[in-house]
């Protein structure tokens, strides 16, 4: 993971605090180790390419039109799958969270289906939606649905009853209740669910692209693998990881919370 680190290294100031110093030291040590392994010939040089080669590949990647056209396709697929899966998840979450009966009747199935490997549904998605972008979007939406639904349902149950009573005493209509009481009170868990949902929708789409497609970033990764162009593959993985981490941070900023992936993974099973 050495090349990943340099994307998150902050610029060094004149007066370094110890944490920053340790971070820089770790990055430098990892990069040096990487370079030593690359030049020693212990592993195939192709597997651990020298850093300048990865750097050149990164520049070449960011300068190529091919990257941006494939990025657009993947971004389109992920965006649509988050919209579809997220909206379905919100609706189902509202239904499950709003009624004890529905919760007891149906939530266990979502809870148990949530942590299954979604990619294995890909053959079915291909049959239903074709080999093009349709099946990728379906994969992403299917992945996104579960964490959003479960987080919404849990979030709805955690609303302080007094807020709901305030709404009722103002004789709010059902739609007013949703827009003025429930959604604002649930912002944190819903945004959190969306963040998790985005993360695994991205994984679903990219994996589906590596399995069977002719466009998208996942396809580029697997194409680099087949051409055995390792520097290009590293460059691409660095860019994808950086994008994923940045978008994740942005979404959790919207939710007003600190990015704590693991805590929330619990609620989504």
């Amino acid at each position: 993971m050495a090349p990943l680190s340099d994307t998150s290294s902050p610029a060094g100031g004149l007066r370094m605090n110890p944490v920053l110093g340790i971070r820089l030291a770790i990055i430098v040590v990892l990069l040096c180790l990487w370079e030593i392994v690359a030049r020693s010939g212990l592993l195939y040089q192709d597997v651990v390419p020298p850093l300048p080669a990865i750097g050149r590949a990164l520049v070449a990647l960011l300068a190529s039109g091919e990257f941006y056209s494939n990025l657009t396709i993947t971004a389109y697929e992920v965006a649509l799958s988050v919209v579809i899966g997220g909206l379905l998840g919100l609706v189902v979450g509202f239904v499950l969270g709003g009624s004890l009966f529905m919760e007891v009747a149906y939530e266990r199935y979502l809870y148990y289906l949530g942590p299954t490997p979604k990619i294995i549904f890909f053959p079915i998605m291909i049959m239903w939606f074709g080999v093009g972008t349709g099946s990728k979007i379906a994969m992403g939406a299917l992945s996104c649905f579960f964490p959003v639904a479960l987080a919404t349902a849990t979030g709805m149950r955690q609303i302080a009853p007094i807020l709901i009573r305030v709404g009722h005493s103002f004789r709010a209509s059902p739609s007013q209740m949703i827009w003025k009481i429930y959604l604002p009170a649930m912002r944190a868990p819903v945004v959190n669910g969306m963040r998790l949902g985005f993360g695994i929708a991205l994984i679903g789409v990219l994996l589906a692209e590596t399995k069977l497609s002719k466009e998208g970033l996942g396809f580029l990764v697997i194409q680099n693998y087949q051409l055995f162009d390792m520097p290009a593959m590293y460059a691409l993985l660095i860019v994808i990881f950086a994008l994923a981490i940045v978008i994740n941070a942005v979404i959790s900023r919207i939710g007003g919370g600190t990015p704590k992936g693991v805590r929330n993974a619990k609620s989504s099973g």
């Binding site: 009966f101 809870y111 289906l113 490997p117 294995i120 053959p123 399995k211 981490i245 619990k266 099973g269």
Partner: protein, 253 residues
């Protein structure tokens, strides 16, 4: 989740849930028979059930299951053996923790599975590629929750240790570690589930190993009921794994 809050009112909704599923399957069966749903892309549920019996009998499911379980076990050992010590080290060295904790958290948000072509190059199409991805995916929760568990130990407990004049090692083995165990176990539960999801996923993607390739092979034969049955089978195995790990965690606590 759906914890029975009172004894009686639970029966009706549970039955409703089951009835909905049965009814949905029956409706699909009818619609496929009437060819309202294209029978070439959705097989009849009854055929899928029959195919389920067939693949269990003919496709070496026990062996496949054992292969996947073995990979899961290897990843579990690695995740435990690397994750818990890593969490302890980060707890012990505060500066290191401040430097690295956000990186570990960021890793858990990154699409780690996507590096599988990298491991394909390093390990080839072998179980080690699968185990490596499973381990990478399972590590972040174990590290973070070990760290969190150790940090959240109540000061009272630590003070008890102090008043007995425990040395550093005793303080750790007798007070800190036992007190952190519940959190470590939930880290392990999440980590193992992440590992297992990724193991089955990568098996499917690289068409190697146990349960994952089963789906591939049946899909490539255009064995429609078989493909659906294989997917159902793998989903059922995942759910069983999930239930077992959940029970285990509760029992260990």
């Amino acid at each position: 989740m759906a914890v029975p809050r009172q004894a009686n009112p639970v029966v009706l909704p549970v039955l409703t849930g089951l009835a909905t599923i049965v009814a949905a399957i029956a409706i699909v069966e009818v619609l496929v028979r009437l060819a309202v749903i294209n029978p070439y892309i959705v097989p009849r549920p009854s055929e899928v059930v029959l195919a389920l019996g067939r693949i269990v009998a003919e496709e070496g499911v026990v062996h496949r299951f054992l292969v996947t379980a073995g990979e899961g076990l290897a990843a579990a050992v690695l995740v435990t053996g690397i994750g818990i010590p890593a969490g302890i080290v980060l707890y012990r060295y505060r500066l290191l923790r401040e430097a690295v904790e956000t990186w570990v958290a960021a890793m858990s948000a990154a699409p780690i599975v996507l590096v599988y072509p990298l491991f394909l190059v390093i390990f080839g199409r072998s179980i080690w590629t699968i185990v490596a991805i499973g381990t990478l995916a399972g590590l972040p929760p174990v590290i973070l929750l070990t760290l969190e568990g150790l940090t959240a130990v109540r000061p009272v407990l630590v003070n008890v240790g102090r008043s007995y004049r425990l040395n550093g090692w005793q303080q750790f083995t007798k007070i800190l570690f036992p007190a952190a165990l519940p959190s470590i176990f939930s880290g392990l539960r999440i980590g193992l589930i992440f590992a297992m999801i990724n193991i089955v996923g990568v098996e499917f993607l690289i068409n190697f190993g146990g349960l994952g390739p089963l789906i591939n092979e049946l899909a490539e034969r255009y064995d429609m009921p078989g493909t659906y049955a294989a997917i159902c089978f793998v989903v059922l195995v995942s759910i069983c794994f999930f239930l077992v790990v959940e029970r285990l965690e509760k029992w260990l606590r």
